[in-house]
Structures are given as C-alpha cells and as structure tokens.
C-alpha cells in the first residue's frame, strides 16, 4: 500500500482533459494551492470544477480560469472574480449554481453511498424546476442526487502515510466531504507524518478515502478579507 507521492505534479499525472474535479476550500480558505498550481502547469483543458467558489482573479481557481482550462463550474457563489464574469457573459464558461447546503450535502451523500435524498432547500424557486417534489412531515422537499467526481483535490493540515487527514479551524469546509466523494482522492498536507503520529480520535478523514498524499510546499494561505477589530 503506497499512497505517497513526491509532489503535486506526480500526484495529478493521470488527470486528463475533460476530467470532473472536486476542489476543496471555501473562498481562498483551505484550498489545495499546490494541486491547482500543478493543474496550471499541466495545462489540461475542459475541466469541470465542483467547488463552492471560483477563487479570485489571481489566486485559487481563478488561476485556472485565467488559462481557460475550466469548461464548467458547479458552485454556490462565484463573485470576487472579474475574469469569471467576463467568460460567463461571453458564453465561454458554463455555470451550474447550487445552493451551498445542497452542494455540500450532495457531496457528503456520495461519500456515504446514498444516491438520492430529500431537502426543503429551493422549494418554490427556480432550483426546483425539473426536480421531483414530495411532502414529508407537512413540508415540501426536493429530491437531490449525490455528486461524485473523477478526482477530489483537497488540502489538509496534517496527514499520514496511510492517508488519514486532520484539518485546522474552518478549513474543513467542503474538503472533508469531497475527500470522501472522489473516485480518486488526492490530498496535499502542510505536514506529512508517520502512521501513529496522529491520534486516532482526531482523524477528520480516514485513510480509506484518500488514495494519494504528498507534502505541499510554499503555502501562501492568502486572506480574502482581512478584517480587524477596532481596538479601544
């Protein structure tokens, strides 16, 4: 069982044009910086990216938008990105907007082996168009389907050789669910440790879900909106 890869380029070597990718993170928080950079270097095109946001112009998935490698985004919110807007208005980019909770849960359900579920979100809105609607407990619900990906790309704080991952603060966001939903899951970590270095009680994503892991480098961890308390 060898899940260790030397770097991001090695870990994504078999990702091809037209692949469906899940990319972890919320805004620029907890994004797989090394993997995104490697995708830019590899230059593959026609990607479908499932990610809550689309990065900013010069960071995160914005980098893959600059190079026109993304064909379609599946996200809940895609502001903060002028290039995105340009491509969308020009019809160069397809966008599937999904309510954030439905997006997170569709991904989570894929990792739980549940192909479909009911949620009240979006009933009475255009999101419900074409979906099966059913009443439970006096409330209307939509049937939503699990969302899978060819590859899930996530970034964790720590990880071990068996693929166990630990996250810090709000970097769990979509990444823990995506790690479970990928046919192949690739994790980059700030700190790669030996099995045994992570307390089994503190594992956020068990190794069984993670197929490839490597130690990332040069993390920038850019902050989108640094907001400070006014000190009296």
């Amino acid at each position: 069982m060898n899940k260790l890869f030397i770097d991001a380029d090695a870990a994504i070597a078999d990702i091809c044009d037209e692949a469906i990718l899940m990319v972890g993170g919320f805004g620029l928080n907890g994004i797989p910086e090394n993997l995104i950079a490697a995708l830019v270097r590899k230059g593959i095109k026609g990607l479908t990216c499932i990610s809550n946001n689309a990065g900013v112009d010069d960071f995160g998935l914005g980098l893959l938008l600059q190079t026109r490698q993304i064909k379609k985004m599946m996200s809940s919110y895609v502001g903060e990105n002028a290039e995105f807007e340009r491509q969308l208005l020009n019809g160069e980019l397809e966008v599937d907007l999904i309510p954030q909770g439905t997006l997170a849960t569709r991904i989570e359900m894929a990792g739980m082996g549940i192909p479909a579920f009911f949620t009240p979100t979006g009933y009475g809105t255009e999101i419900a168009i074409g979906k099966e609607i059913r009443e439970f407990n006096g409330k209307m619900h939509l049937m939503e389907l699990a969302l899978h990906a060819d590859f899930s790309l996530v970034k964790a704080w720590k990880g071990d050789h068996l693929g166990n991952l630990v996250f810090r603060k709000t970097t769990r966001n979509f990444s823990t669910s995506m790690a479970k939903a990928g046919n192949i899951t690739i994790a980059e970590v700030e700190e790669l440790v030996e099995p045994g270095a992570i307390d089994p009680d503190e594992v956020d994503v068990a190794g069984v879900y993670v197929h490839r892991i490597f130690q990332g480098k040069n993390y920038e961890k850019r902050i989108e909106r640094k907001t400070l308390r006014i000190q009296s």
């Binding site: 919320f26 805004g27 620029l28 928080n29 907890g30 809550n52 996200s75 809940s76 919110y77 895609v78 502001g79 903060e80 807007e85 969308l88 208005l89 907007l97 309510p99 954030q100 909770g101 439905t102 997170a104 849960t105 991904i107 989570e108 949620t119 009240p120 979100t121 979006g122 009933y123 009475g124 809105t125 255009e126 999101i127 704080w157 810090r168 603060k169 709000t170 970097t171 769990r172 966001n173 979509f174 990444s175 823990t176 669910s177 956020d204 961890k221 850019r222 902050i223 989108e224 909106r225 640094k226 907001t227 400070l228 308390r229 000190q231």
Partner: protein, 218 residues
C-alpha cells in the same frame, strides 16, 4: 427620522433572546452582533463551519485558517465548535438555528423573499441563503424599505426570482418593523419621528395598520 444601518441592526438586536443560536448574513445583519443586550448570551453560527463565532481579530490574532462565511477573518469564543459545511447545513436544515437575519431585494406579503438574482445582470449565486430561508425557525429580513429608485421592496408578490417561499417572519427597515400576518404585512413599529402615512406610502403590498403603532425604542 429614518434609521441608518446601525439603527436597523440595533432594533434587530432587540429580537435576540438568551441562549439563541443565530446566523447573521452579510451587510447590515453582520452589524447586529455589535448591539447584543448586556444581560444575554447568544451564539453565532457561520455556515462555513463555526458555532461560537467571536469578534474580528486583532492583528496578532489573525489566522488565515479561520474565516467566516463572508470570507472575513474572525475569532472564536470560548466553547466554540468547528465542523465542515455538510454538518453546518445539516444543523441549519434540522432547525437547530433559532434565528437567521439576512438582507433582501424584495419581500412579499406572504413572506416570500428574493435576494439572489436580477434577470439580465451577472448572477453570483445564492450561497447559503436558500438553505437558511428554507429551514431556520425564525427569519428576520434587514433591508431598506425602498430601492434606490424609490420603489417599494415590500410587495404583493416578488417580481424577482425567489430565494424562498413563505419563510420571512419579520422585516426591519429604516422606517418600520413589520411582521408577516395571515393577510399581509402587519405594521408593528415605526422609526422615531416617521409617520404611519410615510410607511403606508412606501409599502406596495397589503399593509395592515393597527390603531396604535408605537415608535421603536432604541
């Protein structure tokens, strides 16, 4: 005199009760946290995975791994908990969040809300708003009574694509506090110095005006 955004936030803060779990949207709703009554404790949820969100950090406290749903740096209170988005929206859908405060472009007299899409304009997405309005026990809208063109945002029916149906419970604007009743908007309070006539004139949907409409106590 109509309220400014801080006044709206201050009035909404009066709706908070001890022990409530509250989700505040971006914009005016975020300001509500600055006006929590002294004698109560409320716990703020941020849908990207925080229960127990604290104030913005000092420079020394800034942590790139800790942001709120508005992508702003934040801190945690003692007793906070962190989790992933699936769990966070599970919490919201299961009705564990007592109160959601969010902005709106339009609200109908049935409690429908539109706040995510203007046809013909670039659509950025609904984010977590559709999930929040579909499931929170109590939803308060914080918004201006009219749009920049002076048109009422309280309508018989929303003209914009909906975010949620029949979900808003209360609306606080710069001139009034209203709730959604069986038959339309019910005027509960007016801003200090604002007349009932002004509110009637600026409300396009059906408005029920009780005999006595008190001024807000801020």
């Amino acid at each position: 005199m109509s309220l400014d955004k801080f006044g709206i936030a201050k009035r909404i803060a009066q709706e908070l009760k001890d022990g409530m779990y509250v989700n505040l949207g971006i914009g005016i709703p975020t300001l509500v946290a600055n006006f929590i009554p002294e004698n109560i404790n409320v716990i703020f949820q941020s849908e990207n995975g925080i229960l127990g969100m604290g104030p913005y950090p000092t420079e020394a406290e800034v942590d790139a791994d800790l942001i709120n749903a508005g992508k702003e740096t934040v801190t945690l209170i003692k007793g906070a908990a962190l989790f992933d988005s699936a769990e966070s929206f599970g919490m919201i859908r299961a009705g564990k969040i007592d109160l959601t405060v969010l902005g709106a472009m339009e609200v109908s007299e049935k409690g429908d809300i539109a706040n995510w899409k203007i046809p013909g304009k670039m659509v950025k997405g609904m984010g977590g708003a559709m999930d929040l309005v579909a499931s929170a026990k109590n939803i308060i809208v914080a918004m201006m009574h009219t749009n920049p063109k002076g048109e009422s945002k309280l309508l018989a029916q929303c003209s914009l694509p909906l975010t949620g149906m029949a979900c808003v419970k209360k609306i606080v604007t710069e001139i009034a506090v209203l709730e959604i009743g069986e038959d339309g908007f019910i005027l509960l309070e007016r801003a200090p110095g604002v007349t009932v006539e002004e509110i009637v004139q600026k409300t396009a949907g059906k408005l029920i005006v009780p005999d006595y409409v008190p001024e807000m106590q801020l």
